[in-house]
Symmetry: C3
Subunit: 335 residues, 3 copies
């Protein structure tokens, strides 16, 4: 894939300073890019790399243009412009012509492209220009919007709904039964059948091997613009607000409601029935066990130490309450 620099500038709305006719056939970092590659700089601390780059062109903002010795693409947000440009150079996997599909005759697939091994249930409705790769299972009554990309081995269970322009990465499961069980008098668990579904908005991305459970009575809701990484668990009846991002391996327990524009780090554990307001950042591996009413950055993990130091710190930590009594420190003293 080769593009004239002028065409790239036009497509991303950049002001081009330099030669619009040079050919760009890839993207690379400032230090590795060659004369036919495009690079970008989004942070002043890499300014030396900009000065010394051999890149054919660099995406940058106004305040760095004087340090650019090569062609420049001026934009207000270089990282965003870089994100847009990456898509020009992406190679897609070919979807083989499927010869063993199981499509219920009541399904309306529009012009969807389906890979081999897909199974499409009753009354499924798929919008325009949507693609399903191989071995996807789309159960009865599922609705998928326009321009979606459903990767291989994704399973979307009965009644669930996806908006437009959603991407589901391989092997994720949407709409499986929630983990709701009632104890009887013999201490045996009885499973609750989950009557709700999962409703997903527009422009949502879900990573590989993630699992999003359907609601018990009401629906689990993933609002528009949400980005979810790999191996994430979202339990029954959770609601995730618009444009919130959730990094890999995080788990959110049942009925918790998360606001808009939150950034949840990797391997965060959020317990059930909580409310987290808008614009909250949770650092990686923290546990959230209470409501968060105030936007801001929150953290909670034990600091890493050499093992022997950890043993001592942990041991004294378990004795903190006794130490405060020895020292005669009262809770009110620490207010």
């Amino acid at each position: 894939m080769t593009y004239k620099l002028g065409l790239i500038a036009e497509k991303i709305g950049a002001e081009l300073i330099g030669d619009s006719e040079i050919d760009i056939n890839g993207i690379n970092s400032l230090s590795k890019a060659n004369a036919n590659q495009l690079s970008y700089i989004a942070n002043k601390k890499y300014i030396d790399s900009l000065v010394n780059t051999n890149a054919g062109a660099v995406i940058l903002s106004e305040n760095m243009k004087n340090d650019c010795k090569t062609n420049a693409l001026l934009v207000s947000n270089p990282y965003l412009a870089f994100a847009k440009v990456t898509h020009f150079f992406k190679s897609n996997n070919t979807i083989p012509k499927a010869n063993n599909l199981n499509i219920d005759p009541s399904a309306n697939l529009n012009n969807a492209v389906l890979g081999p091994g897909c199974v499409i249930g009753k009354n499924v409705l798929i919008g325009k220009n949507t693609t399903l790769e191989s071995n996807c299972i789309i159960e009865d009554n599922v609705r998928i919007g326009n321009e979606c990309h459903i990767s291989s081995s994704v399973i979307i269970q009965r009644d669930c709904q996806l908006g437009n322009n959603c991407t589901i990465l391989p092997s994720s499961v949407i709409g499986s039964e929630g983990f709701g069980n009632a104890l009887d008098e013999n201490k045996c668990w009885h499973r609750i059948a989950h009557l709700g579904k999962v409703v997903i908005g527009d422009n949502v991305c879900i990573g590989s091997n993630s699992a999003i459970d359907r609601g018990t009575i009401d629906d689990t809701q993933i609002h528009s613009g949400v980005k979810i990484d790999n191996l994430v668990h979202i339990a029954h009846n959770v609601v995730i607000g618009e444009n919130t991002a959730i990094a890999a391996k995080t788990g959110i327990a049942g009925s918790t409601v998360i606001g808009k524009r939150c950034m949840i780090g990797g391997m965060v554990g959020i317990v059930g029935h909580l409310n987290i307001t808008d614009d909250v950042t949770i650092n990686a591996t923290s546990t959230v066990n209470r409501d968060i009413k105030k936007p801001g950055i929150y953290t909670g993990f034990f600091p890493l130490m050499p093992h022997n130091a950890w043993k001592k710190a942990g041991m004294w930590l378990t004795k903190l309450d006794k130490i405060t009594r020895i020292l005669n420190i009262k809770l009110k003293d620490t207010k």
Copy 2:
């Protein structure tokens, strides 16, 4: 699906106070239910919702019946009765008639229903009224009991055994090789072939995208009544006692034995070769690194704080040992 209220009362063994002839076509919360929906109350703190509900009927216990203005279904355990009723209103996905199955002729499937894309190995034995959805892989010598439901893309590897009435949710893997490796003199790892299997009892449920490894020599054992959520890892030779429940994202390392009726929260990490007795509750995101000999509730995670407060608390925590020396506090003082 519509049922006379009298029929529902009969099926769940409830005493009906009111009109047995009304039609019930769904379940909803007290505040949202309409005149043809059933609701339930299991906790006195929602008593105002009970008083004001428009539900056609409410499942409740004796001590709340005076506050019920609508038809009542009296039971001793309302949450359990609710769990049972949900199944009356569950819609199931249609399993398409499979036209491309790979079934070894030595397999005995009884009357199992199989979706498309299933692969059934040699000498597989499946009990009565068991269902396998699409793309399941059942390897050689696997035994599955009666009335089981194996969801799409589940993989059950050679020799593993499931009892009756088990449910495996999509994309879980049962019986994969354990993580056992031996170091040689060049610091290279050599994999151990795992000769044991996974043996699962009756009434076990396993969530989506979970992984349960086969034993090294002996078997990994999941006893009857165990409920396991999504994205759970259970390593080689682990034994889980009857009616224990394990929430999502938990990991249990090799050879650990967990007792009966335990409740393991989400994202709990349990290290290997431990013994945890019966009736232990571990709160979410805790790490268990020692035997637990006494029933009770255990917790271990760092409290969530605003990030700046966390930095200070963490910094002083790393210095706790030195602080105790400055203060001249001895371990024996804290006994």
Copy 3:
């Protein structure tokens, strides 16, 4: 499978003391093994079991041979010898003859054995004696070396490369899009297309339901000899050095570089853009949020406590900074 003891000794390079003609048909622990089973001892603390064993033969090292009353296989590293012997007794699943394959004509599969439901893309190159079980998706331009074993439902996405003698356990995803997103002025996320791939060396093993993302521009790299367990997440541009082992449920965030011969415990969270040197051990469930420049053992998790003790310890922990001020302890005092 039955072998003469002499043949086993020869295959693992052991010195046989005893009867080379006895038949060995399995492996078992010292306390359970019978006269036709082989056992092993790798640790002096099990010496009583050795003395009392009924095993037909025991793998052990020189310093324990005097306590062995049965046939002995003398080796320098008994656990490694045991690992090798396990493979003699492993039963493999039969791979059914596939009758519904989708193989692009440009693919070169050598003599690969493929199970049903596999999908092989354009220009795929597979080495000699490699096996793919059922429902594997191998996308365009993927290269897989010799003697690899790709388990059922594994997905290897476009352009990724595996060396020789690799094992990928079921349902893992290699080469999915990384979690890279750029924010625009409306606080909406724009996905970055990932132009790099995943490059995996020789003798690598990856567990079930794991996910390894492709690089953004450069490649994600898993060097030779690395062993990765189940449900592990490895983000874009991570580099894992030779012979490093990573236990289940661990997550490694983007662009982190891990050295050789590290041992990363289960459910460890490693944040992005870090450097971890060679020969580092991280204990299970620790969080790594800084570079590690010195080999050694590191730990960081909150100790498990009875819940009420945890509440007190956590409460005082949040007040540690204030307590040090009350006590008038300065940071410099604790140096």
